[in-house]
């Protein structure tokens, strides 16, 4: 092997180590029985147990999951409608609409978050901030991502399958539900996972548009982090959050392949 190749591989390995290192350390220290960093005094799952005794943690987790699930469902439905219209039909203004749909993806999250808050204030919802306002904001952001994923899937779709169905007697609606939809399922699931994760991980929009009494997991982590910095309890919480994220990622990979 040439020197250049060896260097490249070592370099890549180093970058991977640097990316995963902190995560590994964090996970490890969540099992550390010492309160203090740097000193490993023994393996314990105490911190996890303590977490589970805190109602705020359960509440935040519950909220995150509910909002994420609802966001995923609604965003995917909107995403399919949009992708189908944009890929299968031609009409004036398609180019403009396509560009508009990419804007939520490119805009810095904090900019988007603040516009939502201002919008709600104008509507007089200033005192009703909470679950609904958070959910509405998440959906607005996720539709574009679902659109992008589903659009790619639809473009690669073999249309002759639909034509065959039509020659066999299926009308447009039957063709859609018996042929198109089942074959799009992996793409739909992938888009749902993406939408779920985006909502589940969301910080800025939630921070700006939530009110007293409604907290999601990222906000809980934020609250604990800004108060106490790095603590084993927080390490435990983040490890759990991490585990959920990674599982979603692996599931997504599985559906992307099909």
């Amino acid at each position: 092997m040439k020197f250049g190749d060896i260097f490249l591989k070592v370099f890549t390995f180093a970058i991977f180590a640097l990316i995963y290192g902190p995560i590994v350390v964090m996970v490890l220290f969540s099992f550390n029985s010492s309160r203090f960093l740097g000193a490993w005094t023994g393996f314990t799952i105490n911190w996890y147990v303590k977490l589970f005794e805190k109602p705020e943690v359960w509440g935040a987790l519950y909220n995150s999951v509910v909002v994420a699930a609802l966001t995923a469902v609604i965003s995917v439905v909107f995403g399919i409608l949009t992708a189908y219209a944009m890929v299968r039909y031609s009409f004036r203004g398609k180019g403009v609409i396509d560009s508009l749909l990419y804007i939520p993806i490119i805009i810095p999250e904090i900019a988007e978050a603040l516009t939502l808050l201002l919008f709600y204030l104008l509507l007089g919802w200033g005192f009703g901030l909470g679950f609904t306002t958070v959910l509405l904001g998440h959906i607005a952001y996720d539709i574009s991502y679902c659109y992008v994923v589903l659009r790619a899937r639809l473009i690669g779709f073999d249309r002759s399958l639909e034509e065959a169905a039509k020659t066999l007697g299926a009308n447009e609606i039957q063709t859609f539900f018996r042929i198109t939809l089942p074959l799009l399922m992996p793409g739909i699931l992938a888009a749902s996972l993406l939408a779920f994760t985006l909502s589940y991980d969301d910080f800025y929009k939630t921070a700006f548009t939530t009110g007293p009494g409604f907290e999601t997991l990222p906000l809980r982590i934020w609250a604990m982090a800004r108060k106490g910095g790095v603590t084993p309890e927080l390490n435990a919480l983040t490890t759990i959050a991490l585990g959920i994220s990674m599982s979603l990622a692996l599931l997504y990979q599985k559906f992307s392949k099909k």
Binding site: D158, S160, L161, A164, T167, L168, G169, P182
Partner: protein, 358 residues
């Protein structure tokens, strides 16, 4: 014979491109009808319009005597076999074939018997194949499932869009015979699209030769081959030699820029006009000395290619006319030509046809 399918001045335009240019023809019941032509000639577009997958820009399409322009494909009672088969990947063989039966509301109690029967017609034992996944089948087997799926609903017309393209040569040849057998057995009208002339000539009752959106000629295989009506048909089907010249009134064809006069059977519409003479290589006789033939000319062998069952000779005649002749190797007395040999070429006048210049 009644017309199953009728096209009347059908035109299809995509943007600036005229894909199908005023095409009219009839297809009769139980006929094996082919549309033959090079890519882009409009044959597939025409087929799709008959299926209802494209709407004609102008013109009328009739199925069984009824105008169907406004009828969607799922109400036309046709069957279609697509170029890449379009078998549903998320269903097995049984469900694929059953799909049409379900959609067209056949009685459920008959599904199994109908599917099994058609699989047997396809020479695919149902006990083995019904539950198989599409991906587990070979190319030829997938072909047959696609045909079975389209035929099981007993459509009056089956449309086939170059279905044998991706198959290996030997399998393709076998499938051609199979298709013909199936068509005879089931009695459905077949409309078959292909760019392979050998295929069309082998399988069809009648062929429509298409070029650039128009039909050049419709007829039985023999008629199209022996009596082409246009330059394109003469050149596209098989091989031919073209000689330009003038048909004069005493039964001769004056070769342009040449002292030759060829004896021909010119149809009256060509008399006095410039035209092309078409004579196929295998219809030309070559020997050291020829006798008793309408046309005999002297020439020199310029090129000699041995192709196995025959030899292709390029012969230059006096006056700079070049002809390609094909000689069967079995004609032993005529074998063994060498470049530079002086030979005589000739043909009886009925071996040549006259076609218009353009």
């Amino acid at each position: 014979m009644s017309a199953e399918v009728e096209l009347i001045e059908v035109r299809k335009v995509f943007g600036d491109v005229v894909a199908v240019d005023d095409v009219s023809f009839e297809v009769y019941k139980n006929e094996f009808f082919s549309m033959l032509g090079p890519s882009g000639c409009g044959k597939t577009t025409t087929l799709r319009m008959i299926a209802g997958l494209e709407e004609p820009t102008k013109g009328i399409i009739k199925l069984r005597g009824n105008v169907v322009n406004d009828v969607p494909p799922y109400k036309r009672r046709i069957g279609m076999v697509f170029q890449h088969l379009a078998l549903f990947p998320h269903m097995n063989v049984y469900d694929n074939i059953c799909f049409g039966l379900k959609m067209q509301k056949f009685p459920e109690s008959e599904f199994k018997s109908r599917v099994y029967k058609i699989l047997e017609v396809m020479d695919m034992p149902p006990e083995i194949f019904a539950k198989r996944n599409i991906r587990q089948l070979s190319g030829g087997q997938q072909q047959r499932v696609a045909i079975a799926r389209a035929l099981v609903t007993e459509p009056t017309v089956l449309l086939l869009d170059e279905p044998l393209g991706p198959l290996d040569l030997k399998i393709r040849q076998r499938m051609q015979i199979e298709l013909k057998r199936i068509q005879r057995t089931v009695g459905t009208t077949f409309i078959y699209v292909t760019h392979d002339q050998g295929e069309a000539l082998t399988m069809s009752d009648r062929i429509a030769v298409m070029n650039k959106g128009r039909i050049e000629q419709i007829g039985a295989a023999k008629e199209i081959y022996e009596r082409p009506k246009t330059k394109f048909v003469a050149g596209f089907i098989g091989e031919t030699n073209f000689i330009e010249g003038l048909c004069n009134s005493d039964g001769y064809f004056d070769v342009k820029n040449s002292p030759f006069k060829i004896v021909v059977d010119a149809p009256s519409e060509f008399v006095g006009k410039n035209a092309l003479l078409s004579v196929r290589p295998e219809k030309i006789f070559v020997a050291k000395k020829l006798k008793n033939m309408d046309n005999i000319f002297d020439g020199t062998v310029e090129d000699c290619i041995y192709v196995g069952s025959f030899v292709t000779l390029r012969i230059r005649l006096v006056g700079d006319v070049e002809l390609k002749a094909q000689v069967q190797v079995a004609e032993s007395s005529l074998a063994d030509f060498k470049v530079g040999d002086k030979v005589q070429v000739g043909w009886p006048k009925e071996n040549a046809t006259i076609v218009p210049l353009e």
